[in-house]
Protein backbone atom coordinates (compact mmCIF):
# COMPACT_ATOMS: atom_id res chain seq x y z
CA UNK A 1 0.00 0.00 0.00
CA UNK A 2 1.18 3.53 -0.76
CA UNK A 3 1.36 6.26 1.85
CA UNK A 4 0.02 8.74 -0.67
CA UNK A 5 -1.45 8.10 -4.07
CA UNK A 6 -2.68 10.95 -6.24
CA UNK A 7 -4.15 10.13 -9.64
CA UNK A 8 -4.77 12.80 -12.30
CA UNK A 9 -5.48 15.51 -9.74
CA UNK A 10 -6.66 18.75 -11.31
CA UNK A 11 -7.89 21.90 -9.69
CA UNK A 12 -8.68 25.32 -11.12
CA UNK A 13 -9.25 28.55 -9.18
CA UNK A 14 -10.99 30.95 -11.54
CA UNK A 15 -8.63 31.42 -14.47
CA UNK A 16 -5.68 29.82 -12.69
CA UNK A 17 -5.03 26.13 -13.28
CA UNK A 18 -3.47 25.39 -9.87
CA UNK A 19 -3.04 21.67 -10.64
CA UNK A 20 -3.19 20.29 -14.16
CA UNK A 21 -3.31 16.52 -13.75
CA UNK A 22 -0.85 15.45 -11.09
CA UNK A 23 0.02 11.79 -10.63
CA UNK A 24 2.12 11.04 -7.60
CA UNK A 25 2.92 8.07 -5.44
CA UNK A 26 4.75 8.31 -2.14
CA UNK A 27 5.76 4.98 -0.68
CA UNK A 28 5.41 4.12 3.00
CA UNK A 29 8.41 5.17 5.03
CA UNK A 30 9.75 7.63 2.46
CA UNK A 31 11.13 11.07 3.22
CA UNK A 32 9.71 12.83 0.20
CA UNK A 33 10.28 16.39 -0.99
CA UNK A 34 7.76 18.48 -2.87
CA UNK A 35 9.48 21.48 -4.42
CA UNK A 36 8.41 24.25 -6.70
CA UNK A 37 8.27 28.00 -6.98
CA UNK A 38 5.48 30.00 -5.38
CA UNK A 39 2.19 29.28 -7.10
CA UNK A 40 3.40 25.93 -8.48
CA UNK A 41 0.53 24.08 -6.77
CA UNK A 42 2.33 22.52 -3.81
CA UNK A 43 -0.03 23.83 -1.17
CA UNK A 44 -3.08 23.07 -3.33
CA UNK A 45 -1.91 19.47 -3.67
CA UNK A 46 -1.34 19.20 0.09
CA UNK A 47 -4.73 20.80 0.75
CA UNK A 48 -6.42 18.21 -1.46
CA UNK A 49 -4.66 15.40 0.40
CA UNK A 50 -5.80 16.94 3.70
CA UNK A 51 -9.40 17.46 2.59
CA UNK A 52 -9.10 21.26 2.85
CA UNK A 53 -9.62 21.65 -0.88
CA UNK A 54 -11.66 19.56 -3.29
CA UNK A 55 -10.12 18.42 -6.53
CA UNK A 56 -12.04 19.15 -9.74
CA UNK A 57 -10.80 15.84 -11.16
CA UNK A 58 -8.79 12.88 -10.00
CA UNK A 59 -8.56 10.93 -6.78
CA UNK A 60 -6.26 10.98 -3.80
CA UNK A 61 -5.69 8.31 -1.18
CA UNK A 62 -3.82 8.27 2.11
CA UNK A 63 -2.75 4.72 3.00
CA UNK A 64 -5.44 3.46 0.64
CA UNK A 65 -8.21 5.64 2.10
CA UNK A 66 -9.90 7.96 -0.37
CA UNK A 67 -9.67 11.52 0.99
CA UNK A 68 -13.31 12.22 0.08
CA UNK A 69 -15.20 8.92 0.32
CA UNK A 70 -13.28 7.63 3.34
CA UNK A 71 -12.22 10.96 4.80
CA UNK A 72 -12.28 9.91 8.45
CA UNK A 73 -9.68 7.16 7.97
CA UNK A 74 -7.68 9.32 5.54
CA UNK A 75 -7.50 12.25 7.95
CA UNK A 76 -6.68 10.02 10.89
CA UNK A 77 -3.70 8.71 8.92
CA UNK A 78 -2.47 12.19 8.04
CA UNK A 79 -0.79 14.94 10.07
CA UNK A 80 -0.38 18.32 8.39
CA UNK A 81 1.79 21.23 9.47
CA UNK A 82 0.19 24.15 7.65
CA UNK A 83 2.22 26.88 6.03
CA UNK A 84 0.37 29.76 7.68
CA UNK A 85 1.38 30.59 11.24
CA UNK A 86 -2.03 30.16 12.84
CA UNK A 87 -3.04 29.65 16.46
CA UNK A 88 -6.02 29.93 18.78
CA UNK A 89 -5.35 32.84 21.16
CA UNK A 90 -7.73 31.52 23.81
CA UNK A 91 -5.54 28.62 24.86
CA UNK A 92 -2.19 27.60 26.33
CA UNK A 93 0.25 25.32 24.50
CA UNK A 94 -0.85 22.27 26.49
CA UNK A 95 -4.54 23.06 26.05
CA UNK A 96 -3.98 23.49 22.33
CA UNK A 97 -2.36 20.06 22.06
CA UNK A 98 -5.00 18.41 24.28
CA UNK A 99 -7.81 19.91 22.22
CA UNK A 100 -6.19 18.77 18.99
CA UNK A 101 -5.81 15.26 20.45
CA UNK A 102 -9.47 15.31 21.37
CA UNK A 103 -10.53 16.17 17.82
CA UNK A 104 -8.86 12.92 16.77
CA UNK A 105 -10.70 11.01 19.48
CA UNK A 106 -7.72 10.75 21.80
CA UNK A 107 -8.21 11.34 25.50
CA UNK A 108 -5.51 11.01 28.13
CA UNK A 109 -2.81 11.72 25.57
CA UNK A 110 -0.57 13.59 28.01
CA UNK A 111 2.35 11.15 27.92
CA UNK A 112 2.75 11.72 24.15
CA UNK A 113 2.03 15.44 24.51
CA UNK A 114 4.85 15.69 27.10
CA UNK A 115 7.17 13.85 24.72
CA UNK A 116 6.22 16.21 21.90
CA UNK A 117 6.79 19.25 24.13
CA UNK A 118 10.20 17.88 25.04
CA UNK A 119 11.26 17.15 21.46
CA UNK A 120 9.97 20.49 20.24
CA UNK A 121 11.74 22.30 23.08
CA UNK A 122 8.45 23.66 24.38
CA UNK A 123 8.36 21.98 27.82
CA UNK A 124 8.91 25.26 29.66
CA UNK A 125 6.17 26.92 27.63
CA UNK A 126 3.49 24.26 28.19
CA UNK A 127 1.33 26.57 30.29
CA UNK A 128 2.03 29.76 28.35
CA UNK A 129 -0.75 31.28 26.30
CA UNK A 130 -0.26 30.92 22.56
CA UNK A 131 -0.29 34.71 22.14
CA UNK A 132 2.85 35.04 24.26
CA UNK A 133 4.97 32.74 22.06
CA UNK A 134 7.50 33.86 19.47
CA UNK A 135 6.91 33.00 15.81
CA UNK A 136 9.34 30.07 15.97
CA UNK A 137 7.62 28.67 19.03
CA UNK A 138 4.20 28.99 17.43
CA UNK A 139 5.59 27.13 14.41
CA UNK A 140 6.76 24.31 16.67
CA UNK A 141 3.33 24.11 18.32
CA UNK A 142 1.91 23.67 14.82
CA UNK A 143 4.28 20.75 14.34
CA UNK A 144 3.11 19.35 17.69
CA UNK A 145 -0.54 19.71 16.67
CA UNK A 146 0.13 17.78 13.47
CA UNK A 147 1.72 14.96 15.45
CA UNK A 148 -0.68 14.60 18.41
CA UNK A 149 -2.40 11.59 16.87
CA UNK A 150 0.87 9.93 15.76
CA UNK A 151 -0.12 9.96 12.10
CA UNK A 152 1.66 7.44 9.88
CA UNK A 153 1.89 10.09 7.13
CA UNK A 154 3.16 13.54 8.02
CA UNK A 155 3.04 16.51 5.65
CA UNK A 156 5.15 19.53 6.49
CA UNK A 157 4.34 22.59 4.39
CA UNK A 158 7.30 24.96 4.82
CA UNK A 159 7.75 23.96 8.47
CA UNK A 160 11.00 25.78 9.17
CA UNK A 161 10.08 29.24 7.91
CA UNK A 162 10.89 31.66 10.72
CA UNK A 163 12.55 29.01 12.88
CA UNK A 164 16.13 29.82 13.84
CA UNK A 165 19.01 27.60 12.75
CA UNK A 166 19.56 25.80 16.05
CA UNK A 167 15.91 24.94 16.50
CA UNK A 168 15.65 23.98 12.84
CA UNK A 169 18.36 21.39 13.43
CA UNK A 170 16.61 19.95 16.48
CA UNK A 171 13.32 19.92 14.60
CA UNK A 172 14.88 18.00 11.72
CA UNK A 173 16.51 15.57 14.13
CA UNK A 174 13.05 14.88 15.55
CA UNK A 175 11.43 14.53 12.12
CA UNK A 176 14.27 12.21 11.05
CA UNK A 177 13.62 10.11 14.14
CA UNK A 178 9.93 9.91 13.24
CA UNK A 179 10.91 8.85 9.73
CA UNK A 180 13.26 6.27 11.22
CA UNK A 181 10.34 4.97 13.29
CA UNK A 182 8.43 4.33 10.07
CA UNK A 183 6.46 7.56 9.56
CA UNK A 184 6.24 8.74 5.98
CA UNK A 185 7.32 12.37 5.66
CA UNK A 186 6.34 14.72 2.87
CA UNK A 187 8.11 18.05 2.97
CA UNK A 188 7.77 21.25 1.07
CA UNK A 189 10.43 23.81 1.73
CA UNK A 190 12.11 26.82 0.23
CA UNK A 191 15.39 25.78 1.84
CA UNK A 192 16.65 23.50 -0.90
CA UNK A 193 19.68 22.43 1.12
CA UNK A 194 17.17 21.02 3.63
CA UNK A 195 15.43 18.99 0.95
CA UNK A 196 18.81 17.81 -0.36
CA UNK A 197 19.92 16.70 3.09
CA UNK A 198 16.68 15.08 4.15
CA UNK A 199 14.66 13.82 1.22
CA UNK A 200 15.24 10.49 -0.43
CA UNK A 201 13.04 11.39 -3.37
CA UNK A 202 11.84 14.66 -4.77
CA UNK A 203 9.05 15.87 -7.01
CA UNK A 204 9.30 19.29 -8.60
CA UNK A 205 6.11 21.10 -9.47
CA UNK A 206 5.72 23.92 -11.89
CA UNK A 207 2.48 25.57 -13.01
CA UNK A 208 0.44 22.70 -11.61
CA UNK A 209 2.44 19.90 -13.22
CA UNK A 210 5.17 17.60 -12.02
CA UNK A 211 8.22 18.51 -14.07
CA UNK A 212 10.69 16.23 -12.29
CA UNK A 213 10.34 13.19 -10.09
CA UNK A 214 13.31 11.14 -9.03
CA UNK A 215 15.58 10.23 -6.15
CA UNK A 216 17.54 13.17 -4.83
CA UNK A 217 20.76 11.39 -5.82
CA UNK A 218 19.62 10.83 -9.40
CA UNK A 219 18.47 14.41 -9.74
CA UNK A 220 21.86 15.62 -8.58
CA UNK A 221 23.81 13.26 -10.84
CA UNK A 222 21.59 13.80 -13.89
CA UNK A 223 22.23 17.45 -13.64
CA UNK A 224 25.87 17.13 -12.80
CA UNK A 225 27.67 19.87 -14.56
CA UNK A 226 28.98 23.30 -13.97
CA UNK A 227 27.12 26.27 -12.73
CA UNK A 228 28.96 29.43 -13.65
CA UNK A 229 28.43 32.73 -11.91
CA UNK A 230 29.40 35.34 -14.46
CA UNK A 231 29.51 39.06 -13.93
CA UNK A 232 29.78 40.94 -17.23
CA UNK A 233 28.10 43.80 -19.10
CA UNK A 234 26.27 41.44 -21.45
CA UNK A 235 25.95 37.88 -22.66
CA UNK A 236 26.16 36.75 -26.31
CA UNK A 237 22.68 35.80 -27.55
CA UNK A 238 23.77 32.27 -28.45
CA UNK A 239 24.41 31.60 -24.75
CA UNK A 240 21.10 32.88 -23.45
CA UNK A 241 19.46 29.40 -23.49
CA UNK A 242 22.08 28.42 -20.85
CA UNK A 243 20.89 31.15 -18.53
CA UNK A 244 19.52 29.93 -15.21
CA UNK A 245 19.07 33.25 -13.48
CA UNK A 246 19.87 36.87 -14.19
CA UNK A 247 20.41 39.57 -11.57
CA UNK A 248 21.58 42.70 -13.36
CA UNK A 249 25.16 42.11 -14.51
CA UNK A 250 25.36 38.84 -12.60
CA UNK A 251 24.21 35.79 -14.52
CA UNK A 252 24.09 32.10 -13.59
CA UNK A 253 24.65 29.69 -16.48
CA UNK A 254 24.35 25.94 -16.51
CA UNK A 255 27.12 24.27 -18.52
CA UNK A 256 27.68 20.60 -19.35
CA UNK A 257 31.43 20.50 -18.83
CA UNK A 258 34.73 22.42 -18.92
CA UNK A 259 34.84 22.24 -22.73
CA UNK A 260 31.65 24.26 -22.78
CA UNK A 261 33.19 26.71 -20.34
CA UNK A 262 36.11 27.19 -22.73
CA UNK A 263 33.71 27.89 -25.58
CA UNK A 264 31.83 30.41 -23.41
CA UNK A 265 35.05 32.24 -22.61
CA UNK A 266 35.99 32.25 -26.30
CA UNK A 267 32.59 33.63 -27.24
CA UNK A 268 32.94 36.41 -24.68
CA UNK A 269 36.41 37.23 -25.95
CA UNK A 270 35.23 37.29 -29.57
CA UNK A 271 32.34 39.57 -28.69
CA UNK A 272 34.72 41.86 -26.83
CA UNK A 273 32.83 41.46 -23.55
CA UNK A 274 34.99 42.01 -20.48
CA UNK A 275 34.51 39.64 -17.54
CA UNK A 276 34.21 41.40 -14.18
CA UNK A 277 34.09 38.21 -12.19
CA UNK A 278 33.72 34.47 -12.82
CA UNK A 279 33.07 31.69 -10.29
CA UNK A 280 32.20 27.98 -10.51
CA UNK A 281 29.84 26.18 -8.16
CA UNK A 282 29.23 22.52 -7.34
CA UNK A 283 25.91 21.11 -8.47
CA UNK A 284 23.45 21.23 -5.61
CA UNK A 285 19.73 20.87 -5.48
CA UNK A 286 19.24 24.60 -5.87
CA UNK A 287 20.98 24.51 -9.24
CA UNK A 288 19.06 21.42 -10.30
CA UNK A 289 15.90 23.22 -9.28
CA UNK A 290 16.87 26.33 -11.23
CA UNK A 291 17.78 24.31 -14.32
CA UNK A 292 14.55 22.37 -14.28
CA UNK A 293 12.46 25.46 -13.72
CA UNK A 294 14.38 27.37 -16.39
CA UNK A 295 14.23 24.44 -18.82
CA UNK A 296 10.52 23.90 -18.59
CA UNK A 297 9.91 27.60 -19.06
CA UNK A 298 10.88 27.23 -22.68
CA UNK A 299 7.75 25.32 -23.51
CA UNK A 300 4.11 26.01 -22.82
CA UNK A 301 3.49 22.43 -21.93
CA UNK A 302 5.72 21.47 -19.07
CA UNK A 303 7.21 18.05 -19.73
CA UNK A 304 8.53 15.70 -17.12
CA UNK A 305 12.31 16.03 -17.19
CA UNK A 306 12.93 12.83 -15.31
CA UNK A 307 10.25 10.29 -14.64
CA UNK A 308 10.90 7.08 -12.82
CA UNK A 309 8.32 4.33 -12.93
CA UNK A 310 6.97 3.53 -9.51
CA UNK A 311 7.96 0.30 -7.87
Amino acid sequence: MHAVEAVAIARRFGTVQALAGVDLVVREGEFFGLLGPNGAGKTTLISILAGLTRADRGTARILGHDVVADYRAARRALGVVPQELVFDPFFTVRETLRIQSGYFGLRHNDAWIDELLHHLDLATKADANMRSLSGGMKRRVLVGQALVHKPPVIVLDEPTAGVDVELRQSLWAFIRKLNGDGHTIILTTHYLEEAEALCGRIAMLKAGRIVALDTTQNLLSRFAGLTVRLSAAQLPDAWRPRLLREEGRVRYLGLADYGELERLLAALREAGIAIDELALAETDLEQVFLRIMAGSETTDEARPVVMVPEA
Binding site: F87, E95, S101, G102
Partner: protein, 259 residues
Protein backbone atom coordinates in the same frame (compact mmCIF):
# COMPACT_ATOMS: atom_id res chain seq x y z
CA UNK B 1 -13.25 3.09 17.54
CA UNK B 2 -16.86 4.14 17.93
CA UNK B 3 -16.02 5.75 21.27
CA UNK B 4 -13.08 7.54 19.69
CA UNK B 5 -15.27 8.88 16.90
CA UNK B 6 -17.72 10.25 19.45
CA UNK B 7 -14.99 12.06 21.35
CA UNK B 8 -14.02 14.32 18.46
CA UNK B 9 -17.14 16.44 18.50
CA UNK B 10 -17.28 16.37 22.29
CA UNK B 11 -13.87 18.01 22.33
CA UNK B 12 -15.01 20.67 19.87
CA UNK B 13 -18.09 21.23 22.05
CA UNK B 14 -15.85 21.49 25.12
CA UNK B 15 -13.58 23.93 23.30
CA UNK B 16 -16.60 26.07 22.40
CA UNK B 17 -17.56 26.18 26.10
CA UNK B 18 -14.01 27.08 27.17
CA UNK B 19 -13.88 29.79 24.51
CA UNK B 20 -16.74 31.79 26.00
CA UNK B 21 -16.06 30.82 29.59
CA UNK B 22 -12.53 32.24 29.43
CA UNK B 23 -13.99 35.64 28.55
CA UNK B 24 -17.12 35.30 30.71
CA UNK B 25 -17.06 38.95 31.69
CA UNK B 26 -17.67 39.84 28.06
CA UNK B 27 -19.83 36.88 27.06
CA UNK B 28 -22.03 36.43 30.13
CA UNK B 29 -21.79 39.40 32.52
CA UNK B 30 -22.10 42.08 29.81
CA UNK B 31 -25.36 40.80 28.26
CA UNK B 32 -26.84 40.29 31.73
CA UNK B 33 -26.09 43.93 32.53
CA UNK B 34 -27.57 45.06 29.21
CA UNK B 35 -30.81 43.18 29.91
CA UNK B 36 -30.94 44.63 33.39
CA UNK B 37 -30.64 48.16 31.98
CA UNK B 38 -33.47 47.45 29.52
CA UNK B 39 -35.62 46.26 32.39
CA UNK B 40 -34.88 49.24 34.63
CA UNK B 41 -35.51 51.80 31.89
CA UNK B 42 -38.52 50.24 30.17
CA UNK B 43 -40.26 49.25 33.39
CA UNK B 44 -39.73 52.72 34.84
CA UNK B 45 -41.13 54.44 31.75
CA UNK B 46 -43.88 52.00 30.72
CA UNK B 47 -45.03 50.10 33.82
CA UNK B 48 -48.00 52.38 34.44
CA UNK B 49 -48.82 53.04 30.76
CA UNK B 50 -48.95 49.64 29.10
CA UNK B 51 -51.48 46.93 29.84
CA UNK B 52 -50.77 43.41 28.59
CA UNK B 53 -52.92 40.29 28.39
CA UNK B 54 -55.92 42.47 29.28
CA UNK B 55 -54.28 43.72 32.41
CA UNK B 56 -53.75 40.23 33.85
CA UNK B 57 -49.96 40.66 33.86
CA UNK B 58 -48.01 43.73 34.94
CA UNK B 59 -45.77 45.19 32.26
CA UNK B 60 -42.51 44.64 34.14
CA UNK B 61 -43.40 41.00 34.78
CA UNK B 62 -44.30 40.66 31.08
CA UNK B 63 -40.98 42.18 30.12
CA UNK B 64 -38.84 39.78 32.18
CA UNK B 65 -39.31 36.61 30.06
CA UNK B 66 -39.07 38.74 26.89
CA UNK B 67 -35.67 40.04 27.94
CA UNK B 68 -34.54 36.59 29.07
CA UNK B 69 -35.46 35.06 25.71
CA UNK B 70 -33.96 37.96 23.76
CA UNK B 71 -30.69 37.45 25.63
CA UNK B 72 -30.83 33.68 25.04
CA UNK B 73 -31.34 34.19 21.31
CA UNK B 74 -28.77 36.94 20.78
CA UNK B 75 -26.05 35.16 22.73
CA UNK B 76 -26.67 31.81 21.07
CA UNK B 77 -26.23 33.53 17.72
CA UNK B 78 -23.17 35.44 18.88
CA UNK B 79 -21.43 32.34 20.21
CA UNK B 80 -21.55 30.21 17.08
CA UNK B 81 -21.11 33.06 14.60
CA UNK B 82 -18.20 34.79 16.33
CA UNK B 83 -16.41 31.52 16.98
CA UNK B 84 -16.60 30.55 13.31
CA UNK B 85 -15.75 33.94 11.84
CA UNK B 86 -12.82 34.43 14.22
CA UNK B 87 -11.49 31.00 13.36
CA UNK B 88 -11.96 31.65 9.65
CA UNK B 89 -10.29 35.05 9.69
CA UNK B 90 -7.39 34.06 11.94
CA UNK B 91 -7.02 30.81 9.99
CA UNK B 92 -7.19 28.52 13.01
CA UNK B 93 -10.34 26.84 11.65
CA UNK B 94 -7.83 24.55 9.96
CA UNK B 95 -7.42 22.75 13.30
CA UNK B 96 -11.09 21.76 13.08
CA UNK B 97 -11.04 21.02 9.34
CA UNK B 98 -8.03 18.67 9.43
CA UNK B 99 -9.34 16.12 11.98
CA UNK B 100 -11.88 13.43 11.09
CA UNK B 101 -14.90 15.47 12.18
CA UNK B 102 -18.07 14.98 10.12
CA UNK B 103 -20.42 17.83 9.15
CA UNK B 104 -22.80 16.57 11.85
CA UNK B 105 -19.98 16.55 14.43
CA UNK B 106 -19.17 20.18 13.66
CA UNK B 107 -22.81 21.20 13.61
CA UNK B 108 -23.57 19.50 16.93
CA UNK B 109 -20.54 20.99 18.66
CA UNK B 110 -21.11 24.58 17.53
CA UNK B 111 -24.85 24.53 18.13
CA UNK B 112 -24.62 22.85 21.54
CA UNK B 113 -21.98 25.41 22.52
CA UNK B 114 -24.38 28.14 21.41
CA UNK B 115 -27.27 26.59 23.36
CA UNK B 116 -25.20 26.43 26.54
CA UNK B 117 -24.02 30.04 26.16
CA UNK B 118 -27.57 31.21 25.41
CA UNK B 119 -29.08 29.35 28.35
CA UNK B 120 -26.30 30.46 30.72
CA UNK B 121 -26.90 34.11 29.86
CA UNK B 122 -30.66 33.51 30.01
CA UNK B 123 -30.46 32.08 33.53
CA UNK B 124 -28.22 35.00 34.53
CA UNK B 125 -30.70 37.53 33.14
CA UNK B 126 -33.62 35.70 34.78
CA UNK B 127 -31.97 35.65 38.22
CA UNK B 128 -30.94 39.31 38.09
CA UNK B 129 -34.21 40.61 36.66
CA UNK B 130 -36.30 38.59 39.13
CA UNK B 131 -34.22 40.12 41.87
CA UNK B 132 -34.90 43.70 40.81
CA UNK B 133 -38.36 43.34 39.24
CA UNK B 134 -40.98 45.14 41.32
CA UNK B 135 -43.70 42.88 39.90
CA UNK B 136 -43.95 39.17 40.79
CA UNK B 137 -43.07 36.81 37.94
CA UNK B 138 -44.67 33.37 37.97
CA UNK B 139 -43.38 30.24 36.24
CA UNK B 140 -46.62 28.50 35.34
CA UNK B 141 -45.31 25.91 32.88
CA UNK B 142 -41.53 25.59 33.25
CA UNK B 143 -41.24 22.73 30.73
CA UNK B 144 -42.74 24.91 27.99
CA UNK B 145 -40.32 27.67 28.88
CA UNK B 146 -37.35 25.26 28.77
CA UNK B 147 -38.52 23.74 25.48
CA UNK B 148 -38.74 27.16 23.79
CA UNK B 149 -35.45 28.34 25.29
CA UNK B 150 -33.62 25.23 24.06
CA UNK B 151 -35.25 25.25 20.61
CA UNK B 152 -34.82 29.02 20.25
CA UNK B 153 -31.13 28.92 21.17
CA UNK B 154 -30.68 25.94 18.82
CA UNK B 155 -32.23 27.96 15.97
CA UNK B 156 -30.11 31.03 16.69
CA UNK B 157 -27.03 28.85 17.14
CA UNK B 158 -27.77 27.34 13.74
CA UNK B 159 -28.24 30.80 12.23
CA UNK B 160 -24.90 31.67 13.85
CA UNK B 161 -23.29 28.69 12.11
CA UNK B 162 -24.84 29.74 8.78
CA UNK B 163 -23.79 33.38 9.20
CA UNK B 164 -20.31 32.43 10.43
CA UNK B 165 -19.77 30.23 7.38
CA UNK B 166 -21.28 32.71 4.93
CA UNK B 167 -19.53 35.86 6.16
CA UNK B 168 -15.98 36.49 5.00
CA UNK B 169 -15.47 39.63 7.05
CA UNK B 170 -16.58 40.93 10.42
CA UNK B 171 -18.68 43.65 8.79
CA UNK B 172 -20.62 41.04 6.80
CA UNK B 173 -21.38 39.24 10.04
CA UNK B 174 -22.35 42.56 11.65
CA UNK B 175 -24.71 43.18 8.71
CA UNK B 176 -26.34 39.77 9.24
CA UNK B 177 -26.72 40.59 12.91
CA UNK B 178 -27.91 44.20 12.54
CA UNK B 179 -30.18 43.82 9.51
CA UNK B 180 -31.68 40.39 10.22
CA UNK B 181 -31.26 39.17 13.78
CA UNK B 182 -31.81 42.49 15.58
CA UNK B 183 -34.97 43.58 13.68
CA UNK B 184 -36.50 40.11 13.96
CA UNK B 185 -35.75 40.13 17.71
CA UNK B 186 -36.98 43.63 18.43
CA UNK B 187 -40.12 43.15 16.33
CA UNK B 188 -40.97 39.81 17.92
CA UNK B 189 -42.84 41.08 20.96
CA UNK B 190 -40.03 41.24 23.48
CA UNK B 191 -41.24 44.63 24.67
CA UNK B 192 -44.95 44.44 23.82
CA UNK B 193 -47.84 42.10 23.12
CA UNK B 194 -48.62 42.00 19.42
CA UNK B 195 -52.30 42.49 20.27
CA UNK B 196 -51.39 46.06 21.11
CA UNK B 197 -50.18 46.62 17.52
CA UNK B 198 -52.25 47.97 14.58
CA UNK B 199 -53.79 45.08 12.57
CA UNK B 200 -51.23 45.30 9.72
CA UNK B 201 -48.25 44.99 12.03
CA UNK B 202 -49.98 42.34 14.09
CA UNK B 203 -50.49 40.27 10.95
CA UNK B 204 -46.92 40.87 9.84
CA UNK B 205 -45.62 39.73 13.22
CA UNK B 206 -47.05 36.29 12.53
CA UNK B 207 -44.48 35.89 9.77
CA UNK B 208 -41.63 36.51 12.20
CA UNK B 209 -40.42 33.17 13.57
CA UNK B 210 -38.85 34.93 16.55
CA UNK B 211 -42.34 36.01 17.66
CA UNK B 212 -43.32 32.37 18.25
CA UNK B 213 -40.18 31.71 20.29
CA UNK B 214 -40.80 34.69 22.58
CA UNK B 215 -44.54 34.10 22.80
CA UNK B 216 -44.13 30.40 23.58
CA UNK B 217 -41.42 31.11 26.13
CA UNK B 218 -43.66 33.70 27.81
CA UNK B 219 -46.46 31.12 27.96
CA UNK B 220 -44.17 29.08 30.20
CA UNK B 221 -44.21 31.94 32.69
CA UNK B 222 -47.78 33.19 32.68
CA UNK B 223 -49.83 30.45 31.05
CA UNK B 224 -50.96 33.20 28.66
CA UNK B 225 -49.87 33.77 25.09
CA UNK B 226 -50.87 35.47 21.85
CA UNK B 227 -50.75 32.15 19.97
CA UNK B 228 -51.46 28.62 21.25
CA UNK B 229 -48.11 27.29 22.54
CA UNK B 230 -48.41 23.97 20.71
CA UNK B 231 -48.74 25.85 17.43
CA UNK B 232 -45.75 27.99 18.29
CA UNK B 233 -43.74 24.91 19.20
CA UNK B 234 -44.62 23.22 15.91
CA UNK B 235 -43.59 26.29 13.91
CA UNK B 236 -40.40 26.80 15.89
CA UNK B 237 -39.59 23.09 15.56
CA UNK B 238 -40.14 23.23 11.80
CA UNK B 239 -37.86 26.28 11.53
CA UNK B 240 -35.21 24.45 13.58
CA UNK B 241 -35.34 21.43 11.26
CA UNK B 242 -35.19 23.56 8.11
CA UNK B 243 -32.25 25.66 9.32
CA UNK B 244 -30.39 22.61 10.63
CA UNK B 245 -30.74 20.98 7.21
CA UNK B 246 -29.41 24.15 5.56
CA UNK B 247 -26.44 24.42 7.93
CA UNK B 248 -25.62 20.72 7.52
CA UNK B 249 -25.79 21.03 3.75
CA UNK B 250 -23.36 23.97 3.88
CA UNK B 251 -20.98 22.03 6.12
CA UNK B 252 -21.24 18.89 3.99
CA UNK B 253 -20.49 20.87 0.84
CA UNK B 254 -17.65 22.63 2.59
CA UNK B 255 -19.21 25.92 1.46
CA UNK B 256 -16.63 28.69 2.09
CA UNK B 257 -14.75 26.30 4.38
CA UNK B 258 -13.16 23.71 2.12
CA UNK B 259 -12.27 25.55 -1.05
Amino acid sequence: MRQALAAGWLTLFHKELLRFWKVAFQTIAAPVLTALLYLLIFSHVLESRVAVFGGQVRYTAFLVPGLVMMSVLQNAFANASSSLIQSKITGNLIFVLLPPLSPLDMYAAYVLGAIVRGLTVGVGVLVVTLFVSPAPVSLAHPLWAIAFAVLGSAILGTLGVIAGIWADKFDELAAFQNFLIMPLTFLSGVFYSIHSLPPFWETLSHFNPFFYMIDGFRYGFFGLSDVAPARSLALVGAAAVFLAALALAMLARGYKLRH
